[in-house]
């Protein structure tokens, strides 16, 4: 069996923004190991694919539990099974007590956790995270990294995009992308470990905290 979960050879991605064609990737060859926490670093605006987004991308007028259950809805899973699995998934990210909250009743960190719970609902072998901490303050960012590291320990492969060195060092290996090409790869020598996150108290909407 191949030990790689993702392999790309000369991957090219062009997309159109208005009248301009943006060459996001111009020939990327990359391999991701099973269970690896790979970080892709580059200037903001590179490669926008993934399932956990910088913008959270939650449905606004929908509760946390329904947001998380959404992928199951389209997979044809029955309503009680959907709820059970969504609750379990939210439990995993420390939001078991905020099932009925709407996104605008939660902090950015809380919303991102809901997004991670949604990504987890189908028990995926791999999670892609596109600048998951980009819109968060430092403390909430660390909380999210802690959750991602914990999922990685449980065997889920992670591919995370960031342009912050400090965030990148929470992974195993960093791939630098510049101008649509891989410009270098480095193993993280001293992997940072994010302290285990404390569940947000119910009713709190602020995610303030200091840098750790």
């Amino acid at each position: 069996m191949d030990s790689k979960i993702i392999r790309t050879t000369d991957l090219v991605k062009h997309y159109r923004m208005g009248d301009q064609v943006v060459e996001a990737l111009r020939g990327v060859t990359l391999a991701v190991d099973h269970g690896e926490f790979l970080v892709i670093m580059g200037a903001s605006g590179n490669s926008k694919i993934g399932f956990v987004f910088q913008q959270f991308n939650l449905l606004a007028r929908t509760t946390a539990v329904h947001n998380v259950a959404l992928p199951l809805l389209y997979a044809g899973v029955g309503s009680s099974e959907r709820r059970r699995r969504a609750e379990a998934s939210l439990e995993k990210v420390g939001l078991g007590h905020r099932l009925g909250h709407y996104p605008n009743q939660m902090s950015g960190g809380g919303q991102q956790r809901v997004a991670i719970a949604r990504a987890l609902i189908n028990d995926p072998p791999i999670i892609m995270a596109d600048e998951p901490t980009g819109n968060l303050d430092t403390k909430s960012g660390v909380d999210i990294l802690s959750i991602l590291q914990e999922l990685n320990v449980q065997g889920i492969t992670l591919v995370m995009v960031t342009h912050e060195r400090e965030v990148a060092e929470h992974g195993d290996r960093i791939v630098h992308v510049r101008d649509g090409l891989v410009s270098g790869t480095e193993g993280v020598l001293e992997k940072r470990v994010a302290p285990k996150s404390v569940p947000e108290p119910a009713g709190s909407t602020g995610g303030e905290g200091e840098a750790s």
């Binding site: 926008k48 399932f51 939650l58 007028r61 929908t62 389209y74 044809g76 309503s79």
Partner: protein, 403 residues
């Protein structure tokens, strides 16, 4: 995804924008409501007219002193030719001879005028007729007193039979029998009061009064009956008797100086007119339903643009093109069906109000309600498909980038 889930998703989305959903529905509410109400009023009027005409008696033949074409194309009809009235009391006799029974023929001279009595005045219709009028027209329902006799007709006595409204307006709670009513300066003795007849087509059947035709000729200064009514022996003899009358009158009168009309002629004519009226009203209301549908399409298009991001998220987590399509069509259909339902309710209430206010029948039939429902659903599907297609074809990556 199951249909039930789509309905649930659609309801959530509609509830999230309550005001907008309500206003969008309003177009369909008004459209469906007015279609049902107007068609119901139309068919109510139609059945009322039919009942009224049938109430004339199926063996009634009416002869009028002008040309009246009730058959054929209504659009080519033109106004009736109002020739000089050539009917006289002699014409009555001729008609009587033609059908072989003078007792079955009556003439009418009608005038609207002020009548006074009991210290009050009342504007009503006075009909000068023969003594057999009440038999010919099946009016034999007196509440009190009696009709005038042939003898009273022959000697042009000053007597009058009045309707309930006339009695109430002039004499209030007093017994009108034996009192006097002044018409054209002459005092007429009240000898009879008709039973309550009620209103048909807004016309008060109790506002009528009857006097001997000979008296009418003296009071009104005319000797030309405006109408000759004939009671045929049976329904089967109506047509042959009408033919006989035509033949006899044709000898002395020109073809545009008289018309012989049977109940079925009038019935067919009235039904023809009311049918056109009903279709016309229904058509006009149908246009407002169409406008309501365009309103739905407009709002759904706005909604698709506004919810581009939502569509992107749904697609990113696994919604297929047809899931999104279904969601938006169900939203449009839910709006139009809900609007249709409210419209039906309002129309039923409107027709009850109409009945209470004007005492006229409005027939809300199951058929028309079902039609309006099906039509409003079709409006939803028809005007929902285009926005739904637009929504379902959005590129998820583009939509997620949409601000």
């Amino acid at each position: 995804m199951k249909l039930l889930e789509s309905v649930r998703t659609a309801l959530t989305a509609l509830r999230a924008n309550k005001m907008r959903s309500l206003l969008t529905m309003l177009g369909v509410v008004i459209g469906v409501g007015s279609v049902i109400l107007l068609v119901s009023l139309g068919s109510g009027a139609r059945s009322e007219i039919t009942t009224t005409i049938q109430g004339l008696g199926s063996n009634l033949i009416v002869v009028v002193p002008f040309k009246m074409n009730l058959g054929g194309n209504l659009m080519q009809q033109g106004a009736p030719q109002l020739a000089t009235n050539k009917f006289t009391l002699r014409t009555l006799d001729e008609v009587g001879t033609a059908v072989g029974n003078q007792d079955m023929v009556s003439g009418e001279i009608q005038r609207s005028m002020y009548m006074s009595g009991g210290g009050k005045r009342y504007f009503g219709m006075v009909t000068g007729t023969r003594a057999n009028e009440f038999d010919v027209r099946n009016l034999k329902t007196l509440e009190g007193g009696r009709y005038f006799s042939s003898a009273e007709e022959d000697s042009a006595r000053l007597v009058i039979v009045i309707g309930q409204t006339v009695a109430k307006e002039l004499f209030g709670t007093q017994d009108p029998i034996g009192q006097y009513v002044t018409v054209k300066g002459r005092k007429l003795k009240v000898i009879g009061v008709q039973e309550v007849k009620g209103k048909t087509l807004m016309f008060d059947q109790d506002a009528l009064s009857w006097i001997p035709i000979t008296t009418a000729i003296r009071l009104f200064g005319t000797s030309n009956p405006g109408t000759i009514v004939v009671k045929a022996e049976s329904t089967d003899t109506v047509v042959p008797e009408a033919e006989k009358i035509k033949a006899v009158l044709g000898k002395t009168l020109a073809s545009d100086e008289f018309s012989v009309i049977t109940q079925s002629d009038i019935l067919g004519f009235a039904q023809n007119i009311t049918k056109i009226l009903t279709y016309l009203l229904g058509g006009l209301a149908g246009i407002s339903l169409l406008v309501g549908g365009i309103g739905i399409m407009n709002i759904m298009l706005v909604s698709v643009t506004e919810r581009t991001r939502e569509i992107g998220i749904r697609k990113a987590v696994g919604a297929k093109t047809r899931d999104i399509m279904l969601q938006f069509i169900v939203e449009a259909v839910t709006l139009s069906l809900l609007g249709g339902f409210i419209g039906v309710m309002l129309a039923v209430m409107g027709s009850m109000l109409y009945h209470a206010l004007f005492h006229m029948k409005a027939q809300v039939t199951v058929w028309i309600v079902l039609m309006a429902f099906v039509f409003s659903m079709l409006v939803g599907v028809f005007f929902g498909v285009y926005p739904a297609r637009k929504a379902s074809r959005l590129d998820p990556i583009e939509s997620l980038r949409y601000e």
